[in-house]
């Protein structure tokens, strides 16, 4: 875009200087004849206007190529890091679906590997974008694997698989709620009754977006505080006493989730896990 614009502008200027009769209307009084020095300067500017953007384009292309190379390397490293999660997911399918045909096993294994590749590429791409967003590995596994399991497993197995997945989602939500209340307890010193009341409200008004609490590794601190779970303020504030409300308000002022949460974009399913591939999937 920039190249075209400069080029066009230079052409118009040159045209205006060389053919003043076209540019000026009416031709009365006669247009001044441009001096050779002026023509040369304008011509040089026009040529530079074409050549410099070309150099910029080449430089940008080199930078983009380098960035892509970095992204590819990061994606490969990430694929390695996601192997334990993939083995875990395959174990989960094996436990819930039971016996599967050889063809089904192959299709599921391939789909799991594809999901890991996709997650790794998404992660690497996010690293190069300002305002990183999270990469939800479970969502990617679900999107890729669910249709394959539906296609290849028996109806009973599919029902069991789906039921177990829902239960796992509920466990994630319950963990997020516990972590929210635990964090509040550390900052506000809640009573047992307050903890239970907030937990109950978090459950009844639950919003899946609040799973973001799982992204907080616990060690991340802003202005001396961990990010405040103010996304769920409606479940928290009604249960605080005056002292706690003051602490809560100042906490939210210095470390609200909106300020701090943007820095939390990824939760690694780390640990040794299942130690390698399961030969069952190749039988």
């Amino acid at each position: 875009m920039r190249l075209d614009f400069r080029h066009a502008a230079a052409c118009i200027v040159l045209q205006a200087l060389v053919s003043p009769a076209i540019a000026a209307e009416p031709p009365n009084p006669p247009a001044p004849v441009p001096q050779p020095a002026v023509i040369e300067r304008v011509f040089r500017q026009a040529v530079e206007g074409v050549v410099r953007p070309l150099q910029e384009v080449q430089e940008n292309a080199a930078a983009v190529a380098q960035m892509n190379q970095q992204r590819r390397q990061q994606a490969v490293q990430m694929q390695q890091m996601l192997q334990p999660a993939m083995y875990g997911e395959l174990e989960f399918i094996r436990a819930t679906c039971g016996e599967l045909s050889r063809e089904a096993k192959r299709a599921i294994k391939e789909a799991a590997a594809a999901a890991v590749r996709e997650a790794a590429e998404q992660f690497a791409a996010q690293q190069h974008r300002p305002g990183r967003r999270s990469v939800d590995l479970q969502r990617i596994f679900g999107k890729t694997l669910d249709p394959i399991v539906d296609r290849h497993a028996s109806a009973d197995a599919v029902a069991k698989y789906r039921g177990e997945k829902r239960a796992r989602e509920q466990r994630r939500a319950e963990t997020a709620r516990l972590l929210v209340v635990s964090k509040l307890d550390e900052e506000l010193d809640l009573t047992a009754a307050q903890r239970e009341a907030i937990l109950a409200d978090l459950e009844s008004l639950w919003d899946a977006a609040w799973l973001c609490e799982l992204l907080d590794p616990g060690s991340f601190v802003v202005n001396g505080h961990r990010p405040a779970p103010d996304f769920a303020a409606e479940c928290i504030e009604p249960h605080l006493d005056e002292r706690q409300r003051k602490v809560w308000e100042s906490w939210v002022r210095v470390a609200s989730w909106r300020q701090a949460g943007v820095h939390l974009g990824w939760r690694f399913p780390d640990g040794p896990g299942l130690n390698g591939a399961d030969a069952w999937w190749d039988r």
């Binding site: 083995y87 997911e89 239960a167 796992r168 994630r172 550390e186 047992a192 001396g224 780390d270």
Partner: protein, 321 residues
């Protein structure tokens, strides 16, 4: 809808502004030096000067490690030797109250405040317990200060074996003082004894109930994310998750009711969960898992057991008596 446009304001200082800032900097620096003439960087002679990066001021690092770090963490601050010079007036300057005593008093009063919120203390009870806090704080502060004073004006040179030995002894002393700080106002303290005497039956029951509930809640909140990680890496079913959760709830450790201030030590929490899992009845658990899963779980449990002595230093669990 068009969003608000964000403009970045660029500050371009004029020549006069730069000259003014430079002049102010010189004046401020000279005033600063005049105010701080008791402490100065000591030029290190000869070979020691070349090894400046290896010399650690132990006195300054004592406070940094005692108050700013938890568990087994160690920090090294401000390489280079700093020595105290005598006061220019020749008079001994009054030492301000020690940081250790102030910190201990704050911890004790926070604990007392928590008891008050739970039980509603009378003025007489408040007064007695405040005295107990002060007494405990002074006793522990004195012990810590005695250790701290051994490092006054001393440094360890990492480049020499003697310096490395000194650093190891320093680490052990810091760990011991840290443990003393963590256990302040707990079971063996005067505060605990006065509390037991001072509260009436109803207050004591309320406090016990609240402490137990907080401990159990902290344990639930500690094990849930670890189980979630296992969910993802071991592919647990509902029944398997429930079996692990049951075993872990039954193996609740004597957690300190209050979490150490600041960021969570999630690594220590994870290791504690693995350690407690290793105490569960393996015969009951084993049948719930596939061979692959059990192998992975055994590895985690062994990892937890191997970290036992490290975990003891982290201050998550009360000392076993």
């Amino acid at each position: 809808m068009v969003g608000p446009m964000i403009r970045r304001r660029v500050f371009r200082p004029s020549g006069a502004a730069i000259a003014g800032a430079l002049l102010w900097g010189v004046v401020a620096a000279s005033t600063g030096l005049a105010d701080d003439d008791r402490i100065e960087e000591d030029p290190l002679p000869g070979a020691a000067q070349r090894q400046e990066g290896n010399i650690i001021d132990l006195e300054a690092n004592f406070d940094a490690n005692l108050f700013e770090q938890t568990g087994g963490g160690l920090v090294i601050r401000g390489n280079g030797l700093r020595v105290r010079r005598p006061s220019p007036t020749g008079e001994a300057e009054a030492e301000s109250e020690s940081q250790t005593l102030a910190r201990l008093r704050q911890l004790g009063l926070e604990k007392l405040d928590r008891v008050d919120r739970t039980c509603g203390l009378s003025d007489a009870q408040q007064a007695k317990l405040t005295l107990a806090v002060e007494s405990d704080a002074r006793e522990i502060a004195e012990e810590i200060e005695a250790t701290r004073s051994r490092y006054a004006g001393t440094a360890a040179n990492f480049a020499q074996p003697e310096g490395q030995k000194k650093w190891q002894a320093f680490q052990q002393d810091v760990q011991r003082c840290r443990a003393r700080l963590q256990a302040a106002f707990e079971a063996d303290s005067l505060f605990a004894a006065v509390l037991a005497e001072t509260l009436d039956e109803q207050q004591r029951a309320g406090l016990d109930r609240e402490s137990r509930a907080r401990r159990s809640f902290r344990w639930r909140a500690m094990l849930a994310p670890v189980l979630l990680k296992m969910d993802e890496t071991l592919g647990l079913t509902r029944a398997q998750h429930a079996a692990l959760e049951r075993a872990l709830v039954a193996a609740e450790p004597p957690l300190r009711p209050e979490a150490p201030p600041g960021r969570r030590n999630t690594h220590a929490e994870q290791m504690l969960v693995y350690l407690q899992l290793s105490k569960a009845d393996a015969n009951v658990l084993r049948g719930e898992f596939s061979d692959r899963q059990w192998r992975a779980l055994s590895m985690l449990m062994n990892q937890g057991k191997a970290m036992k002595s490290w975990l003891d230093q982290q201050g998550l669990v009360e000392f076993e008596r």
